[in-house]
């Protein structure tokens, strides 16, 4: 769950509030993806979307994955912004991020109303917590001999390099 959460936040440029919870029992009033807001489209040409907890097929049968992301200022469930990822790249090789996502989807048990990054174990709901992500990022920074104080859950977001790129900063600095 942690690996999927970190990868998801990196590729979707998310802040912690958009994919994890601060509390053990998640509150409705959040940006978290619900299980049904991460959907998969198959290669069969039917254009049908399957909610993430209804997917029962091999990875090779998947064409796309769709995330319905809620606005930072609008958390109405019917106003998600769609973000799509292909299951394979231009060389027809599996995209590692989507593959990791698929593995999470097919190994975790969740109800429709559960957060995407959660699982049920003997009917108990376990969610990915903000603190868990924060600890993982700080220990990763430490591993790379970086000051852990500079890394937090919002550090996954790529806003800084994006802004730097727009400001035409040299790639070395970015």
């Amino acid at each position: 769950m942690l690996a999927t959460g970190v990868s998801l936040s990196y590729h979707l440029c998310l802040q912690s509030s958009e994919y994890v919870t601060r509390t053990i029992v998640p509150i409705d009033d959040s940006h978290q993806f619900k299980t049904t807001e991460v959907e998969f489209m198959l290669n069969d040409g039917s254009l049908t979307l399957f909610a993430s907890n209804k997917l029962h097929c091999p990875y090779s049968a998947i064409k796309l994955v769709k995330f319905s992301m809620l606005h930072a200022k609008n958390i109405r469930r019917d106003y998600g912004v769609p973000i799509w990822f292909s299951a394979t790249d231009k060389n027809n090789q599996p995209v590692p991020f989507v593959q990791l996502l698929y593995r999470w989807v097919t190994t975790s048990k969740r109800h429709d109303s559960d957060p995407f990054l959660s699982f049920r174990d003997n009917h108990t709901l376990h969610c990915l917590l903000y603190k868990t992500i924060q600890t993982a990022l700080k220990s990763s920074a430490k591993h790379f001999n970086l000051d852990e104080a500079w890394f937090n859950t919002q550090s996954i977001r790529m806003s800084v390099p994006t802004i730097a790129r727009a400001a035409r900063e040299p790639t070395a600095i970015i």
């Binding site: 690996a3 990196y10 999470w104 500079w150």
Partner: protein, 190 residues
């Protein structure tokens, strides 16, 4: 909390209630006003209320009851707000970037108690806020974005045997060998 009452029940309730009580429709409106800001924001606003209470206890010797504000004149209320801003800046030494949020929180807490908040829009209070904004602020926190290497390191640690519950390579018996080897080779490279 949702209030689901039909009109007949509401009318009946109103007749049974003492006239000094709020009409049930008004109670519903108050509830709507409470939800005008998100639950997360409401929770973060709570700390401001405690700052206000501390301020009041320190300078006025008590925590004011809600009806206290209804007897205050506009000028008295404005004075208290001005004092509170100074208290936050000079005594609590709160980051000056937090002052507008603190005042928004305070305004919200008065608003849901149906206390007149027009003093919050007073030009003098606005000038004080602008003055606060011009004070030297502490530097912004340094935050660096994670690199893909860092992300892959976390993924690697958490997709190995006995790692985070819910996903581990050993638990992926039905994932294609090609897929697992691809992820494994990715980690091996990085």
């Amino acid at each position: 909390m949702h209030i689901t009452l039909n009109l007949t029940t509401l009318r009946l309730m109103y007749l049974l209630l003492d006239t000094t009580h709020d009409h049930p429709l008004k109670l519903q409106a108050i509830q709507l006003a409470r939800t005008s800001v998100s639950m997360n924001t409401q929770n973060s606003y709570k700390s401001t209320c405690s700052k206000w209470e501390l301020f009041f206890q320190r300078y006025f010797g008590c925590t004011p009851p809600d009806d206290h504000y209804r007897t205050l004149t506009y000028t008295q209320f404005l004075d208290q707000l001005l004092m509170f801003v100074s208290y936050c800046v000079y005594e609590l030494k709160i980051n000056i970037r937090s002052i507008p949020r603190i005042l928004s929180a305070l305004r919200y807490s008065f608003l849901i108690k149906q206390i007149n908040c027009s003093a919050f829009d007073d030009p003098f209070l606005r000038a004080v806020k602008q003055g606060v904004a011009r004070m030297p602020a502490p530097p912004h926190r340094v935050r660096l974005p994670c690199t893909l290497d860092m992300i892959n390191y976390i993924i690697d640690l958490n997709t190995t045997t006995n790692a985070t519950r819910g996903v581990s390579l050993n638990a992926q018996s039905h994932v294609s060998d090609r897929g697992v080897s691809l992820i494994s080779s990715l980690f091996a490279v990085q």
